[in-house]
Amino acid sequence: MRKVVKTIITILLFIISILLQLFVFNNITLFGFKPNMLIISVILVGMYTNIYSTAFYALLLGFTTDLLFGTSGFYTVIYSILGIVIGYVSDNYMKENIFSAIILTAGGITILEIIEYIRAMAVSANYIGFMHFVGDLLVSILLNVAIASVFAFVLGKINALLEKKQDNIYW
């Protein structure tokens, strides 16, 4: 029963994260940076499922992103890799709590921003200074960590409720 509920929550998270990103977070900027609900959703899925589910979730999310934004496979590859990394770290080292979400978000966003910056640099043949990039990165991390903590808190409560119900069934 719990697996079915988890699957439903994962599918809902997929749809909600895309809609939230397109209609809410794309219109919020802090010093020119926007929250990335898509990578946050990969992290949240990674915290409560195994590496295989996380990787496939990230793959589908990347594919959908490429279709919506016309980026020809870029996000399919990037999100797949991030899904595997996040799934592996989550499975082996992190527990299901809000601090794990914060650390994974900071790590995931750092990797994503570096890759996107390298892509932007390659396309435009210009660059920004290292300290400038670090400043930009910190803003992006803070923004995403703030949002990830809220969602991780809510998801944590849902998970605790499900576990309590499961225990009640057995006892």
Partner: protein, 277 residues
């Protein structure tokens, strides 16, 4: 001798992991190959239309036409007679505001049409913007079904916005002039000399452009206007691009550049026109 250690479990786990990795890599390659193989065909367009259609439906749900609120008004008036006058006044005020907003939007669209009346244009609304922090693109609700094609110019009544970078049946992605991959050939108004304007990573958060390849021995000044030169296939000529706000004189003339404020505040617009002819 039995040492009590079962190795078969580890072998099973390893096999499972290897199979997963193999299947996953094949899937990633398949998906990426799908994009590269079908980049010019209708297949990607059709699949992308299926994905983007529900999103357009959700967008339309929150952007209903005025006629729907009239049904709501009738239902509300009938439902509460005691507060009817107060509610009617509130609804009328809301309707008036909605009418003003619709009027403003329609006026903007008309202004765009008037500004570019010598071109054939298709009006589009911005449905959603890019989600990453390093590109400057957005998606509009018109596509190949409306005659939109890749590399067509996108404008607003105030000036140049960008160009169409990808198209599906019902939507199109616009890469704006603020994007670091975009270069626009411009004429500097006061001296009628060509230069190049492009997005810059350092100016990304300020929504400014960089004017480079300024001809040697020419004097440019703050407030000089820039218009598209028409050089190259992408942009028609004489479309306003921006205004020079700062000239940076480096040690030698070759490296000097200027900062440009675009005519169009791309973060605030909601309608654009695509020049299809």
């Amino acid at each position: 001798m039995d040492y009590g250690i079962d190795f078969s479990d580890n072998v099973q786990k390893r096999k499972k992991k290897l199979i997963f990795i193999a299947v996953f890599v094949v899937l990633v390659i398949m998906f990426v190959a799908f994009f590269f193989r079908n980049s010019n065909s209708k297949v990607v367009s059709k699949v992308a239309t299926v994905i983007s259609k529900p999103i357009i439906v959700v967008y339309d749900l929150f952007n209903k036409d005025e006629i729907d609120s009239m049904d709501l008004e009738t239902l509300r008036a009938e439902y509460d007679e005691l507060k009817r006058q107060k509610e009617e006044l509130e609804i009328q005020a809301l309707e008036s505001q909605k009418i003003l907003d619709d009027n403003k939007m329609l006026k903007e669209m008309l202004d765009i049409k008037k500004e570019y009346q010598h071109y054939k244009t298709v009006m589009g609304k911005i449905v959603y913007r890019e989600h990453d922090n390093w590109t400057q693109t957005f998606t509009i609700n018109v596509g190949s079904n409306d005659g939109v094609q890749v590399d067509q110019t996108v404008v607003h009544k105030d000036g140049l916005v960008g160009y169409i970078s990808s198209v599906t049946d019902t939507t199109a992605t616009v890469t704006t002039i603020l994007d670091v991959s975009t270069s626009v050939s411009v004429n500097i108004s006061t001296i009628n000399e060509p230069a190049v304007v492009n997005g810059d990573l350092n100016l990304k958060s300020q929504n400014k452009l960089k004017l480079t390849y300024i001809p040697l021995d020419t004097e440019i000044a703050v407030s000089d206007m820039l218009y598209t030169s028409g050089i190259g296939v992408k942009y028609p000529s004489s479309i306003p691009v921006g205004r020079i706000i700062e000239v940076v004189n480096n040690k030698n003339d070759v490296n000097r550049y200027a900062l440009v404020e675009p005519c169009v505040d791309i973060s605030k617009i909601s309608e654009v026109a695509v020049i299809i002819n």
